[in-house]
Symmetry: C2
Subunit: 335 residues, 2 copies
């Protein structure tokens, strides 16, 4: 398809079509006015010759490069990849490509990457991370190009996108209640995370202010430990555990099985993240909350693009709905 022999320039198209360069340009860009017949002929010729306009030349002139940068400090890719997929999906058709820059938490490296992006005249930047309550280690204010913050903290007056943790948690807990569960406990990560607070808040909103919450870290090991504590206590044991992430949920499921407590017959378990590798391998497979990161990415892509085009976008925080994915750890749903 794409041939190596020196790219054909608009000049040869014009020649072949018997028009001037300017006319060819207009024909190809649907600008100016000319006989429809001429326009078609030029296009025809261009197609035959396999003409592809030089993006550099075009960018130099138009100040738009049809590229954007995606900055992230999530080296693992747990959050970034789905997001990236969404961004990319929203932008390919518009002809814009995405530079991915992993900046870890190194301000120097971040600076280098941002400078490189700026040099390349990206039309916009999407800043993303692995925590919605932490900022990237770079100052992105006062850039001359638009910035959208997705799944990371940003200035109040910026366009920001996060998943609606509270809504997701609410949905999960309501699902448990709908299944008839009444003694629901929340086992989650460190209380210092905004997402933990959001989810905890929503949890208590549904089960009442006395709802029991165990804070720990994000690991499977903590899931085990939490179960040990709960079952060791003399008080009545829970009939449902809503976990702060899938790893904790997996630990909880394993620990319960090892204790001879049946999931979901005796206890229902819900996770958070829908991290396939964890959720699907858990026994039984986890019912869990998906943050729709791909959708979030699509939205972020759409928004930078709009901003880059100079369209007005209302600044502020946008929360995107999460979705409960039903597998087998709660009972209910498809059997």
């Amino acid at each position: 398809m794409a041939l190596s022999p020196a790219r054909v320039r608009i000049y040869e198209v014009a020649q072949a079509a018997g028009v001037s360069i300017a006319t060819a340009s207009k024909a190809l860009n649907d600008t100016g006015r000319m006989a429809e017949e001429t326009r078609q002929r030029v296009r025809q010729v261009a197609a035959e010759l396999g003409f592809r306009p030089n993006a550099m030349a075009r960018a130099l002139l138009s100040k738009r490069s049809f590229t954007i940068g995606l900055l992230t400090n999530d080296t693992y890719g747990r959050f970034t990849l789905p997001l990236m997929a969404g961004v990319s999906e929203a932008l390919v058709d518009e002809g814009v490509s995405v530079f991915l820059c992993t900046i870890e938490d190194d301000p120097q490296l971040a600076r280098v990457h941002v400078d490189a992006l700026l040099d390349k005249q990206v039309d916009g930047i999407i800043a993303s991370g692995k925590r919605i309550d932490r900022r990237l280690q770079v100052d992105l204010t006062n850039l001359s190009i638009p910035v959208v913050y997705a799944f990371t903290e940003g200035p109040d007056d910026a366009v920001r996108l996060v998943s609606d943790d509270a809504q997701g948690a609410r949905e999960a807990v309501q699902w448990l209640r709908g299944l008839g569960r009444r003694r629901i406990v929340h086992v989650t990560g460190p209380g210092s995370f905004a997402s933990v607070q959001e989810r905890t808040g929503a949890f208590r909103e549904v089960v009442g202010p006395d709802g029991q919450v165990l804070f720990g870290n994000w690991s499977e090991a903590w899931g085990h430990e939490a179960v040990r504590r709960l079952w060791q206590a003399s008080a009545s044991q829970p009939d449902a555990i809503f976990c702060g992430n899938d790893q904790i949920a997996r630990g909880v499921c394993d620990a319960l099985r090892e204790r001879g407590v049946s999931v979901p017959a005796e206890v229902s378990v819900v996770g958070f993240d829908n991290w396939e590798i964890v959720a699907a391998a858990t026994r039984p497979p986890l019912t869990t909350v998906d943050m729709n990161l791909k959708q979030l990415g699509r939205e972020a892509g759409r928004l930078v693009l709009a901003l880059a085009r100079g369209e007005a976008v209302t600044p502020g925080l946008r929360k995107l709905a999460c979705q409960l994915v039903v597998r087998q750890s709660c009972g209910g749903g498809v059997t």
Copy 2:
């Protein structure tokens, strides 16, 4: 730092330094000859003004865009992200940025992405995937820019990079033998995978041609099943299990524990991939083979860059060494 007020162009630098544009350009690029004093002064001024050359203009002239494209069909990112990190690391300092394109297995989408990359005049493309014995759904031959294949199949005469599965497997099995294990079994994925064949070959090379190999799929469930089969058989049970990936290894460890077989006291287990989320959460944490994907990425980056510069690179397959990461599932190592 980076200010929005209209970018400063080389013209203002020249003005401020009291030289012509041409001289300024030469001073900045270390070309041409001029009084060292002049050169320094220009640089000084450029720095003060925060001058950053317009990459578009430069690219238009030099035919080099200082960008490359990374194509992958690994939507999950298990292999792509570490690779990407390496590529990026090798290239940031050279001022080249990376377009990440996830093409899934859709030829149409792939075409769109490649065309976009070509339009943007990328200096080269790195094709990567999730299997070393499958090609991407795009024809990348006959492009006018260099292509490097990393962790994916490519034409014989292309520059190709893969991890050395055989060496990695050999290392793992030798480690087990060094620990005194003699009845080693290999539990792995589908025999149709080239990497499975490589690893199996190396396994038999070390333990002898009669070494027992169980083929299945890449899941934890298969690890469970394999243990069931092995312990159900009347023959003597293995004292070590070398697994085709970490998920299988995790399944194996869980199954053994459930049977009351102690890991590593009675049976040693080795995984493959060093997928942190799986390897570290396994009880006990997995000793496993790391494919050094980041290193592979660095190498791929270095190579496209060399090719883009017109340097000669010997085509053919390059195998990069894997490395055994010792945790606790084998005994031995740090205690």
